[in-house]
Symmetry: C2
């Protein structure tokens, strides 16, 4: 069976981010993969669900837990368009996920190397592999476009 | 109206932790309070729900979001029996919660001052007040008893 590349799975995560943009949510998306297959997808849905925990990653993690009937995501990888925040990074390491691939960095709230250096935290029970910069430009652009459109709309209203 | 003390609300969080113990979950509980009233309760339910995100705090946060029809928990406080982990601390600061009261520290995974120093993270959009050590001994004891019972049962089996 053909082994898909990280860029292929990241392109699916970008499609998820576009779903968020259509709902007027900050466009962040992700997919969780096991044995070369997507087992769950998620996009940021905080405003629509009025649930602070409904980040893309949390949505996909919960679905994957349900699908595998297990709170551990052993031998799974996640592809996220943006560096995960403290909440999502916490859920991901606790799920024992194998590898976190992400696209763009998040200087304001990223918990891999931006707001904290995850790898420098001592005594956690699991440290996933982490690889950033996958389709970074596309992942970054979708967020920039979203905020640019928001500003344009706001200027028209004012 | 009588203003309840932090110890009173923590005693309700301990009752939640006891619910977790009855289900053979690590006994951690919490309540979220607004205007001197409990608006939601949560206990650790990870094993039963098979959902890595089902920590006490996350359960209570989602219920409070639903009740207030808002992902922000403005003017709310949370009382938790244990220092929150990275995931829960991430959800709590993002919810703009006012004050986090907790009982015992968690040297292995606590994200207030144990595994990370939350207050030293730069550039987050909200820093809740944090007060630890409320009914610390009782909060700590319920967890110690749980693991002691687990070990005793295991020895009997072996």
């Amino acid at each position: 069976m053909k082994k898909f590349t990280p860029e292929y799975f990241m392109s699916l995560a970008i499609k998820e981010a576009q779903k968020a943009a259509f709902k007027d949510e900050v466009p962040i998306g992700c997919v969780i993969v096991k044995d070369n297959k997507v087992i769950s997808r998620g996009h940021n849905n905080r405003e629509n669900k009025k649930d602070v925990t409904s980040h893309a990653e949390m949505e996909a993690i919960r679905k994957a837990n349900k699908k595998l009937n297990n709170w551990r995501l052993i031998d799974c990888d996640i592809y996220i368009t943006l560096e995960p925040c403290l909440m999502c990074m916490g859920a991901l390491y606790q799920s024992h996920i194998n590898t976190i691939y992400y696209g763009a960095s998040d200087p304001k709230g990223g918990a891999v190397h931006s707001s904290i250096e995850f790898s420098k935290i001592n005594n956690l029970n699991h440290y996933p592999n982490i690889i950033g910069g996958i389709l970074e430009e596309e992942c970054s652009q979708i967020i920039k476009n979203y905020f640019k459109n928001k500003r344009t709309k706001l200027i028209k209203i004012l």
